[in-house]
Structures are given as structure tokens and as C-alpha cells.
Chain length 414, copies 2
């Protein structure tokens, strides 16, 4: 008998039929004799509806009330899922973050879980109940309702798995698992039976959108095996686990990409100690997050600074840049049509020559690289967005990701 | 400086514009220096939407989960109202029944308030906040979410007024107050500036639908002056207070009616001691609520029993009656097209002849009476539904309700 945490996202519970389907899946695991705790997101579209309601009411909604409003989305879905289980003669009880005592800090809309009181869950499990938990939400010491921010249901699931020392945390989504790259773009993309936490973190942060970063970090920290599976199709999914437990040795695990990037260059800045810090501080003061950054000293007295930002921040960023350009007598250039292309793999750490093979591959495909940045287990290149698809395809072939063995590892023996 | 409890129903907060309008009204009272606690229902249509969702999922939703689901309706509206107030620079905080500690028994969907912890509200009022409370809901000792059943927001408001010893409890609705009868039916109907608690109870139970019965009982018991006003039009509304405080002396205060009735007769039942009890028990066992009941001994060995039930219970009731008819060799008749017409007034207690005047008036209008029942301050007649309107009109004229002085009493000096 194992203790399994399952998490179902908004599209998994998007309709009443789907809620019944999820209930059947949960019941199946329970019928095998396991204890099950299920974390559920709001029904697909519901959170957006609530957010729109708030913004239609007032341009700048009070954060405390915003969270109280948005948290109703999950309360609806947990009650419905629990009802569906009871209707299948499967004793079940739903709990909001507040009812359960999922204690968070008081940073509304972006709260972090501080502690989870597991006594209510344990009591219910002992009595044979399935416990349905509202994802994405908690409560402060003062009793105010908080939300964890977008994708926070994954975090709730992993935090619960850690607090309850669960055997596995299963994240059900609308994809089969983690692929070598987006199968919508490259039909030859292969499902990865396993991936290391580190690789998953790089994949997630680069736009693979399968798991929320914070939840992967948490699972890694608390040694919780994480499995990504499809709600709608049977299959073992992808197990996210520790590097030493990954059976299949691969150089490169996947290609991640992000289209929503913009590139900004500031050229001819005087070489002064600390000037980079001043520039970055001016951007930080406007809450602009910088992704990649490179610096070139172009001449004796001047240098260039190039960096990328989320594309939606471009106009805000340009206002700051124009001021800085005036101040330092520098020139600003911008390109709002760039995209980031990244190779991710544990093999990068120990194998030389991957960067050069990547650059050659892109070059052979007639793709020019605007920026290049490497880290322990990833290499990112900034290219024209119009050339992204071609680049992903070329790299996928060059690194033979379409030829990865797909020996499927069975899911944790339940 | 007074402490005012205001309650706004679903149609008062049915749109975002209306929520802004309610926020302005609340702010106005706060700006006069008063403390304000506002109880809010779910936005119009929202509770029905949630109920339909539950019933579309499963024909018999689990009661605990049903309450958790339905309670989200008020959580949405309190958060939005509080946001609207904050947007008008009016510090405000919303609280669900759970957050506030509105303790109820555990009869889901029909819970009763046991206790209210006022410390959170008092603390907020001291700090200058307006407190927005979710009506219609509470929490059990075990931390389960409960709802009070339809119209329960009125009860929440009065219970809060009692717990906080408020100066007045104002129930805002979409009508101007309590009328002598339904002004949609009789345009000459007059707004009553005041009405006694007892009269209000009779009016409410007879279908006037302005206030929930339980809330009137509670206000009476705890000596809370209750005022019914319109959210949308200015005016003093109707003050519900103690008989000795009603300034305007009237024989009859109003005419209430209810169309949704059905009449059932069981004739030729053997005269046996306790047989009425057996019959009523058989109905009670099926949760059928009987309204009026009369019994006639028609001959030496047989008697007739006639009673009325809510029309929607007719088919269920007839099943029980058919069994009873067989058992007692009696005959069943039913009439699904009857309506109840009632005169309500403190004057009935001390003035004879009102019943006969009522019967004469109906007789002159060619309306036959199927059943008649009198109590301390009301007289009810069961008539054909098709003749109801004519009956209301005739009685309204005969008792000169269209000539009542409408000296308006100013609202409590705030």
C-alpha cells in the first residue's frame, strides 16, 4: 500500500464529463488499496473568468480581495470532484487551503507555502476517505485567503507529498509527459521515460510548460519522485527523478524554446566601473526581468551591453533605455522578433564540443545566432523567431533525439 | 455614531455596476461616521448556476460537498464588493462564514447558526474597516462549510445584528418595502411605513417573500429593529418593530396570497381514534408538509379530512393517498388549481366580524371558499386560483387598504 498524491490541472477537470473521468481514475487507485490525496485546479477558464470580473470592476483590485475571489475557482472543482467520487460510492471529502491549514506567507497572488498541517488529511485517510485538496491556495496566520500564483496547484501537490512523505507525486496534464521537444512542432519528438530534476528545471524555465518550476525545485529538495502523465490517455508518462536514478544515459535530453523574447542592445557605453550595475538597477526598479545578458568591450573607452527580456515588457523597457542612452550618450537597438532555442542535457556537463556542434548545425541551416549563453546543462542561442522552427528541427536531427530508445519504464509499482 | 448592519440580496449585487452602486451606499453611511457591517448574497443567478452544476454532475449530490460548492457564490460577491469599496478609498475586508467563525449545526443546506465569534469584526471596526460578510453560510465545529438554505443571508444579517447589538438591521431588496399587498397585482397597494413583527411573520409565511421568516423571528427575539428598503430607489422603506411601537393603528395591514397550493380531500374515512394521526404520519414520513387542514364528521361512522400542500408535492402526495384510500376504503379527491388568500392584521385579534366581512366580500364577488382557517392575526381562505386576483382586489377595497395614510416615518436617525 502506497500513499499517492495526484494533481489534476484545469483542463483535466474542464467539464463535468472530465470530472467523472478523473473520479474513475482516482477510484481505480483507491480500489487497488492505496491511499490517495488529490489536488485539483479550477475548471479550465474559471480562473480567467474571475480575474476578468475583478479587472472589469476596478483596474487595480485590492490584493487580499483578489485572492479571496480567485480562490473560489478551486473550491468549485474540489466540491464537484468529491461529489463525483461519493456518487461512485467512494467516500471522499474536499478541503480548501483554509480548511486544511495550508499556511502561507501574506504575499497575495504570489504566496509561498510555509507549513501544512497534515492532521486533518491523516485522520481522513485513516478513516478510508479520499482527500480532495484545492490547489493554488492557502491561508495566512491572520486567516486571510491567499493564492500561490499561476500553476500553483503543482506546488500544492508537491508540498503535500513532502509533508505527507508520499511515495509518488503524479501530475496529470493534457500531455503524455515530457518530450524531447514540442511534438506539435516536431512530430518526431520522443517521449522521455525519465528525466533528471536538473534537466526538468531547465526545460520548464525554457518554456516547456509541463511543470511549474517551483514544484520541481520542491520535489527535488524533498526527494519526491514526480511523474507527469496524461489524464486522457493511458501510459507511464515521464518520471522526474535524481540524476543517479535515471537509467537511460543520454547526452541531450531535449530542445526547449521560447518565442516571446525581445533583444535589446545598448552600444557605446562609457567603460566605468559599476556602470552595468547602474543600468541593471534602472531596469530592476521598473520590475523588468532580464533573461540572457552579454557584455562586449568594443573599444578602449566604450562597451556594448546586450540582453533579452520578455517581449511584453518591450515598450516599458524602451522608456528606461531611452533615458539611459541619453545619460550615457549611447545608442539603443531593439529586436522584438527573436526567440530562444536551448539544448538541455546532463551530458553537456561532461562532453565538450556540444556548443560547437550546435553552432555548426545552426550555421549549416543558415541561421544566424544573435547571442549565445551556456550553463552547466544547457546551451541557449538567440535567433530570429522566423528561423526558430527550422533550428529546432535541425538540432533535433543532429543530436539524434528522434532516435532515442523509448524503452518505457513502468510506473512506480503501486 | 451607530452600528448598522446592512444586507444586500442577489439582485442588489447582480452586476458590477450594481456592486459599485452598493459600495457607494455603504460608503455614504460610513462617511456619516457610523460603523457598518455588510452582509451580501451571491450575485443574482450564481447560486442557481452552481446548483445546476451539481445536479448535472450527479442526481443526488453529497450534502457536504454541495454546501462547499454553493458557498463560493457569496465568496465571489463579498470579494467584489470589498474591492469596490477599497477602490473608493474606503478600507474594507471581506470574510466568509468560515473565516469569521459563524458556527452552525451540521445540517447541510439547512444549517442553523449556533454562535458568532464577533472578535474579528470588532477588531476590524475599531481599526476603521468596513466588514463585508458572506451571507447564507457558516462552518461546523469540525470545520465543514455549511449553508443556511435559501434566503439565509437575511438570517446571517439579523444574527450578526444580535451578536453585535447593532442599532438597526437594514435589509436592502429590489422592492421599496412591505406593501398592503403585491403592487404588481393591485396598483393601489400602499407601502406600509411600519409593521409589527407578528404581522410580518404572517405576511412572510404567506408568500409576501420580502423577508425570510427565520430572520424576522430572530430579530423579534433579539429586539433588533429591522428595516426593509430598496437598493435602487431612495426611501425610508418599512420598519418592522414591536406592536407597541407601531404608531399607525390599523385593523388590517395587508393581504397575502400564495398560488402554489394544492388541495386534497379524503372522504369516508372510518371514525377511529388516532386515525388522523396515522394519516398525517404517513405524509410526514414522505417529508410532505401540510399547510391548512380541516376535518368534518360527515356521518355517524365516517369523516372527511381536507388539507392543502405545496403544489409541487402533489404527485408524491397522491401516491401516499392512494394507499391510504385503499387501506381505509375511502375516496380521494384533489384540486391542483387552488390558491390561498389571507388577511393579516393585529386588529383581527380584538375586532369581531372580520371573518364574516371577508366571507361576504368574497361571496359578493362570486368567489366560493373551499376552506377557511383563522388564527390570532390572520384569516386564510382557499379559493380557485383563477379567482384569486379578483378576491385580492375585492378585499383590498373592502378593508380600505388603498386609503391607508402613508405618513412616512423617517428612518432611524443615523
Amino acid at each position: 500500500m502506497a500513499l499517492i498524491i495526484q494533481k489534476y490541472g484545469g483542463s483535466s477537470v474542464g467539464t463535468l464529463d472530465r470530472i467523472h473521468h478523473v473520479a474513475s481514475k482516482v477510484k481505480q487507485v483507491k480500489d487497488q488499496g492505496h491511499d490517495v490525496v488529490v489536488v485539483v485546479s479550477a475548471m479550465y477558464g474559471e480562473t480567467d473568468r474571475l480575474i476578468q470580473l475583478a479587472h472589469a470592476l476596478t483596474p487595480d483590485p485590492d490584493p487580499r480581495e483578489y485572492d479571496a475571489l480567485v480562490a473560489t475557482g478551486e473550491q468549485v472543482s474540489i466540491a464537484l470532484l468529491s461529489m463525483a467520487l461519493v456518487a461512485k460510492n467512494c467516500p471522499s471529502r474536499s478541503y480548501t487551503g483554509h480548511q486544511l491549514g495550508i499556511l502561507t506567507d501574506s504575499v497575495h497572488a504570489k504566496a509561498r507555502i510555509i507549513d501544512i498541517n497534515t492532521s486533518v488529511i491523516r485522520h481522513n485517510l485513516t478513516q478510508g476517505y479520499i482527500v480532495i485538496v484545492a490547489g493554488f491556495q492557502g491561508v495566512t496566520h491572520q486567516g486571510d485567503i491567499t493564492t500561490l500564483g499561476r500553476g500553483g496547484s503543482d506546488t500544492t501537490a508537491v508540498a503535500l507529498a513532502a509533508a505527507l512523505k508520499a511515495d509518488e507525486c503524479q501530475i496529470y496534464t493534457d500531455v503524455d509527459g515530457v518530450y524531447t521537444t514540442d511534438p506539435h512542432l516536431i512530430p518526431e519528438a520522443k517521449l522521455l521515460p525519465e528525466i533528471s530534476f536538473e534537466e526538468m528545471l531547465e526545460m520548464a524555465s525554457l518554456g516547456a510548460k509541463v511543470l511549474q518550476i517551483r514544484s520541481v525545485e520542491l520535489a527535488c529538495k524533498h526527494h519526491i519522485p514526480l511523474r507527469v502523465l496524461s489524464t486522457f490517455r493511458e501510459g507511464p508518462g515521464t518520471l522526474v527523478t535524481f540524476e543517479d536514478k535515471v537509467m537511460q544515459k543520454r547526452l541531450i535530453s531535449g530542445i526547449a524554446f521560447n518565442r516571446e523574447e525581445a533583444l535589446i542592445g545598448l552600444s557605446g557605453i562609457p567603460k566605468q566601473i559599476g556602470i552595468e550595475g547602474n543600468i541593471l538597477q534602472a531596469l530592476h526598479a521598473e520590475n523588468i526581468e532580464i533573461d540572457m545578458i552579454t557584455q562586449n568591450a568594443v573599444g578602449k573607452n566604450a562597451m556594448d551591453l546586450t540582453f533579452t527580456i520578455p517581449r511584453k515588457e518591450l515598450s516599458k523597457t524602451m522608456k528606461v533605455m531611452d533615458k539611459l542612452a541619453k545619460k550615457y550618450h549611447a545608442t539603443v537597438i531593439s529586436n522584438s522578433k527573436v526567440a530562444k532555442l536551448s539544448l538541455v542535457g546532463i551530458g553537456i556537463r561532461s562532453h565538450h564540443g556540444i556548443t560547437s556542434k550546435m553552432c555548426q548545425t545552426l550555421g549549416n541551416a543558415d541561421i544566424s545566432i544573435h547571442m549565445l549563453s551556456t550553463s552547466e546543462i544547457k546551451i541557449s542561442a538567440m535567433v530570429e523567431e522566423s528561423q526558430l522552427d527550422k533550428g529546432v528541427y535541425a538540432l533535433h536531427q543532429a543530436f539524434e533525439l528522434d532516435k532515442l530508445p523509448t524503452e518505457i519504464q513502468a510506473p512506480l509499482e503501486l
